[in-house]
């Protein structure tokens, strides 16, 4: 792989990178409000984004560089099983259609910036809110780290980053520069920076996919040939296990895994803090509903992208690290300049979500740990300052993570993060529709889900790893292999429901609900819901 630097590709990559850097800093001036020192401004872009900005922002946020590298890599490695990402993203939109507008409304009415803000307001429980916040931060950190892994893959294939023998500083310098720049413009521009850069990222990605899906099959002799070759390759036994490497279609045993992974991941996606940050930055609840009808365009792109995994096999791409399969395919197939465009798309694709994730994690820390537990009388200006600093810390943490530890650690934690974040579903989505659940029962359900999920994932072995070898395991009582996150989630719900009955029987204190039913349906323009919230909302007594 490291057979010299690909000069043309690198030049194109650097060109795009510089362009988005300039945009990132200029973004601070984009739609600037009077008071830029509030968390609504820095952390939610003034809650002002319309349908298209939200579409680009959410698309740029959810379909990350890591997704672009990992989904085809999974197909490349094992075939059909990796395609679950498509039904997963199909199911997300009908799902969020039902609950996201309610979250938007209640958050606007009460000035909530994070999901934990809502949980605290709804259930009057700082403990539950803290649990949700900590889960969110824990789940987001490895996700940011994986964005770096995505950039690293691209840099590796371009020949920068050096081989094993160069010293670590030279090797990691490009990554350090990329992240230094990212940190600087996120700090100064807040959510406006990724929102603006997302335009470039998504445009590049769409162009690259459109070209790849037509150009590469023509070069490889059509889809018939591609799938025939892939089928042969999957039939070869894996030297480690002796079983075939993969399959074009999931067998009977794999179907439960496929379905539970799709459903569990769909339920989890909008529990992630960065998804919610992008959602709450939109101007009205209509913007969100409308977006559920146009966001699937990204799913279609993801499906096409997944097919690139088969093309990598057919093209004879041989990489030890599956993550490099797609960047390597681009380098082998495309002329140098267009490979540069493709790499830029992946590289910038990492910057957008990394920025949003670090903002989301910082908001959680500031609102639900700093303000709730350390300094309750923090002013909006102080909140913003803390959030900016934490966003830096979060990124540095992710960088240290990637530079000092093996990549598999980041991947393991990301896998755990998905299982964990799903455990906040009952408190958040349950809370959006009913106040029936008891706060302590929700907390207990969350704890049970977290512990079961972690222990179960720890016990999964793969040919290469003793622990965290995968995300599926036998479902107790059913006997089929299913996604651990979903099993943990069901346990969580059962515990929550049972304990709610118990708590109600014991007449345990319910906590104060500061929301009222009409808050969940309010839209911009209604009394009490300003299109642009004044900075004082953050300190308005909740």
């Amino acid at each position: 792989m490291n057979d010299g630097v690909n000069g043309v590709a690198l030049a194109v990559f650097i060109f795009f990178f510089l362009a988005v850097t300039v945009m990132g800093f200029l973004a601070a001036r984009w739609r600037r409000a009077d008071d830029e020192h509030s968390l609504d401004e820095w952390g939610l872009g003034g809650r002002s984004f319309g349908t298209w900005v939200t579409w680009f922002l959410l698309g740029g946020d959810l379909y990350t560089a890591y997704t672009f590298v990992a989904v085809p890599a999974a197909i490349y490695a094992a075939g059909a099983a990796g395609f679950f990402a498509v039904p997963y993203t199909i199911l997300v939109y009908p799902l969020i259609f039902t609950f996201l507008p309610r979250l938007w409304s209640v958050s606007h009415k009460h000035g909530y910036v994070t999901t934990s803000d809502f949980v605290r307001g709804r259930f009057g429980s700082k403990g539950l809110s803290l649990a949700v916040a900590v889960t969110g931060i824990l789940a987001t950190m490895p996700y940011i780290a994986l964005q770096l892994v995505g950039i690293q893959a691209v840099l590796d294939v371009m020949g920068v980053g050096g081989g094993e023998d160069t010293n670590w500083f030279v090797k990691d310098l490009p990554l350090l520069i990329a992240f230094g720049v990212l940190a600087a413009y996120t700090y100064s521009s807040g959510l406006r920076a990724p929102a603006l850069i997302a335009f470039v990222k998504d445009t590049l990605i769409y162009i690259v996919i459109a070209v790849a899906i037509i150009y590469i099959p023509i070069k490889l002799g059509g889809f018939d040939d591609i799938f025939a070759k892939a089928s042969d390759a999957f039939a070869q036994p894996n030297p480690a296990t002796g079983a075939p490497r993969g399959a074009l279609v999931p067998g009977d045993a794999g179907q439960w895994t496929y379905a539970t992974l799709a459903l569990g991941s769909a339920l989890a996606l909008f529990m992630y803090p960065h998804s919610i940050t992008a959602t709450l930055s939109s101007r009205s609840r209509e913007v969100i509903r409308r977006n559920t009808t146009i966001l699937p365009l990204y799913s279609l792109m993801l499906g096409l992208l997944a097919l690139l995994g088969f093309m990598a096999i057919a093209a004879g791409v041989k990489v030890k690290n599956g993550q490099l399969a797609i960047p390597q395919l681009f380098e082998d197939m495309f002329p140098d300049w267009f490979a540069g465009v493709a790499f830029a798309a992946i590289g910038i694709g990492a910057l957008v979500p990394a920025a949003i994730m670090s903002i989301a994690a910082a908001n959680l820390f500031t609102r639900n740990i700093y303000k709730d537990f350390i300094k309750p009388d923090a002013t909006p200006r102080e909140e913003t300052r803390v959030s900016k600093l934490v966003s830096l810390l979060v990124k540095v943490g992710a960088l240290v993570f990637v530079l000092t530890m093996d990549k598999t650690v980041a991947i393991n934690f990301q896998l755990l993060g998905g299982i964990w974040i799903l455990q906040t579903f009952p408190a958040l989505v349950g809370g959006l529709f009913t106040r029936w659940f008891h706060r302590w029962a929700l907390l207990a359900g969350w704890a049970v889900g977290m512990v079961y999920g972690t222990v179960a994932a720890y016990g999964v072995a793969s040919p290469t790893q003793k622990h965290f070898g995968g995300s599926s395991k036998e479902i107790p009582g059913i006997g089929e292999i299913g996604y651990i996150g979903l099993t943990a989630f069901l346990l969580n719900v059962v515990v929550t429901v049972v304990l709610t009955f118990v708590m109600k029987a014991l007449k345990a204190p319910e906590g104060v609900d500061e929301t009222s039913p009409s808050d969940y349906t309010a839209d911009a323009g209604d009394p009490g819901v300003k299109v642009e919230l004044p900075p004082a909302t953050a300190g308005a007594g909740h």
């Binding site: 199909i90 199911l91 009808t293 699937p296």
Partner: protein
């Protein structure tokens, strides 16, 4: 999760809302029933059934969500007019 009334006038469950719920629920049935599409034939331009069928469902689910969205707007408008003046 149930469909929640946004404008609290009229009955909560109406035929229109049942249709909306079905539009949103259909993709779950189609996608989670993996056995119904775990096969290679018929292929489309060389792509096995398993893959093109799911990609087709991206389009179908989008159409269903759009339908649900339009019907929901219709439902809300109807309820607002019924009550007269600004809703909520």
């Amino acid at each position: 999760m149930s469909e929640a009334p946004e404008v609290n006038r009229g009955p909560v469950v109406t035929p229109l809302r049942v249709v909306i719920a079905l539009c949103l629920f259909a993709p779950f049935v189609a996608m989670l029933w993996v056995g119904s599409y775990a096969k290679t034939d018929p292929a489309f331009i060389g792509i096995p059934f398993f893959y093109w069928y799911q990609m087709l469902w991206v389009l179908l689910s989008t159409l269903l969500t759009v339908t649900a969205y339009k019907l929901w707007q219709f439902d809300q408008r109807g309820r607002r007019n019924q009550g007269g003046g600004a809703a909520k």
